[in-house]
Amino acid sequence: MMGAQREQRLQDLIRFLRTIQKPNRPIDSVGVNEGLVASGLIDSLAIVQIVVYLEQTYGIDFAAGGFDPDRLATMASILDLIEETCR
């Protein structure tokens, strides 16, 4: 069962991803555990836009902990990263 806070963060994330999605691949067709790059929603260089979103919204400092692109591979892994950092 997804917690209310996680659900809220997911909705916020989906709202953000809708602003960077590729025109022909809407976010609504991508599952929570589906790869964002593999599904064609974004390309691997556009991951930096997710980085900026996480820095600005949750204050995550990627310089300190090293940058693992796999942590941003799916919506579920992004939510896990947010939870770990905000804990």
């Binding site: 691997s44 556009a46 930096v48 400092d61 990627f62 090293g66 940058f67 796999d70």
Partner: protein
């Protein structure tokens, strides 16, 4: 059956089910453990073959003997083991190395280079060992790098030496660029059961078929477009359009060739290079997929790209990933605290770190024979046209990324004409910058003159 269904045969549940029934025994036998052992055994064979090919080479400061190569092989194996142990025990490494593992790795490479430069014939066989290790290291450095990245991200648990070793001297092929990246990426794409393996193998077979088709297309291009043609030209009645190769036109600065033929040559070269990458890349990825690693293709329809950054993603995926993983993303992350309020400057720095600095560095150390002999400046001089190519590439990618960011989230633009114009723009950009990347001994000035000749601006003789 429709054409698109035929093209996607590897996704068809009926075909997958048939494959599982027909080859059920093989699928069951080829467990992840056995697949990795086969590839690791192949890696030993590749290592021995590659090192043996160095025996007798006289391109270095001194001829290399069999004894020197054997000892160098042992040193390289030892280094591979040491880096594996360092990755496995990453948490216990000194803080500086944990923070900068890639710098430390490249420091080891430059250390070996320095020792090779300082070595003298009086050192006997040990000079040969140093030369061979420094010669082979650029092939291994990115592969060790991926292993260290995996360690940095805390993903080494459960992996053994042979898991990584199979990527060091890959039997499936590759250049200094590791196709399929490292074991971290491979294991994420690995088939876990018979159905996934069947899917992966069918996807691999599809790539082999495509590779064969593109190879025939390349031959046909050589026969029908490029003059004077090849053996196939005679079989096809001796007809060839006779378009000169771009390398030849650049060397001649376009002299004596109508400008529209030069333009055709520019576009033909782009298509030729895309096909060449697709043929080789598909073969390599096909082998990986047949062994259950269902990884991304190296080349995926780049000629249909509607933006420069999309083309760069699709043309040579594993090189782009190498640049992104080792230069672009780390630079972008590191600059977060300093340039948070200047997002465009931050993006600019990250793009140039990858497409310009990283790209040049990769190609500099790839010139391993020059490097081993200490001719670093000669190497940089050899790359003088590439400097300009990389600069234009980086600038193009940066502008394209900004444009993509503006376009993102908007509905797809209707209209075939607009799409066609976008694709044509991408072809023209890459076709033109490739003038400074095409192989051959043409000087930088000759390339500039050829570029000008495309617009009727040939300089006065």
């Amino acid at each position: 059956m429709r054409v698109d269904q035929l093209m996607q045969f590897h996704e068809d549940p009926r075909v997958i089910a048939w494959w599982q029934v027909r080859f059920g025994g093989m699928l069951a036998w080829l467990t992840p453990f056995r697949r990795r052992i086969i590839l690791a055994t192949g890696a030993v064979w590749v290592m021995v073959k590659e090192l043996r090919s160095l025996i007798g080479t006289d391109d270095l400061a001194m001829p290399v003997e069999g004894r020197g190569v054997v000892l160098a092989g042992l040193v390289l194996l030892g280094l591979a083991w040491l880096f594996y142990r360092a990755a496995a025990g990453f948490a216990s490494l000194p803080a500086w190395i944990r923070q900068h593992p890639q710098l430390a790795l490249h420091g080891v490479y430059w250390g070996f280079l320095g020792l090779a430069w300082l070595s003298t014939p009086a050192m006997g066989v040990w000079q040969q060992v140093l030369l061979v290790v420094a010669l082979v290291f650029p092939f291994l450095v990115w592969r060790f790098g991926y292993m260290l990245l995996m360690a940095q991200y805390g993903r080494m648990a459960g992996t053994r030496f042979y898991d990584h070793f199979l990527t060091f001297w890959p039997v499936y092929g590759g250049s200094n660029t590791p196709y399929g990246k490292g074991m971290g990426y491979l294991s994420r794409c690995e088939a876990k059961n018979a159905e996934e393996l069947a899917r992966s193998q069918l996807a691999g077979i599809k790539l082999l078929i495509l590779s064969g088709l593109w190879n025939v297309t390349l031959d046909l291009m050589e026969a029908l477009f490029y003059g004077p043609g090849n053996a196939l030209t005679a079989r096809l009645g001796g007809y060839t359009v006779g378009i000169p190769k771009l390398s030849q036109l650049v060397a001649d600065e376009g002299a004596g060739t109508a400008f529209w033929i030069s333009w055709i040559s520019v576009y033909c070269e782009l298509i030729y290079q895309v096909l060449r990458h697709a043929v080789r890349g598909h073969q390599i990825v096909a082998v990986l997929r047949i062994f259950g690693f269902n990884v991304f293709r190296n080349t995926y329809k780049p000629l249909l790209s509607e933006s420069i950054v999309e083309f760069w993603n699709r043309y040579y995926y594993y090189f782009k990933e190498l640049m992104a993983n080792f230069f672009f993303l780390p630079t972008f992350a590191q600059l977060g605290s300093r340039l948070r309020n200047w997002p465009r400057v931050r993006l600019f720095a990250a793009v140039f770190a990858a497409a310009f600095v990283g790209n040049m560095y990769y190609h500099l150390i790839k010139m391993n024979e020059l490097m081993v002999q200490g001719h670093v400046l000669d190497g940089l001089y050899e790359l003088r046209s590439r400097f300009f190519y990389c600069f234009l590439l980086a600038l193009g990618i940066y502008i394209s990324m900004l444009r993509e960011q503006r376009r993102a989230g908007q509905p797809a633009t209707p209209g075939r004409l607009r799409r066609f114009l976008r694709i044509a723009g991408v072809w023209t950009f890459f076709g033109l910058i490739f003038i400074w990347n095409v192989k051959g001994g043409a000087s930088f000035t000759a390339r500039v003159n050829f570029f000008l000749s495309l617009f009727g601006l040939a300089p006065a003789a």
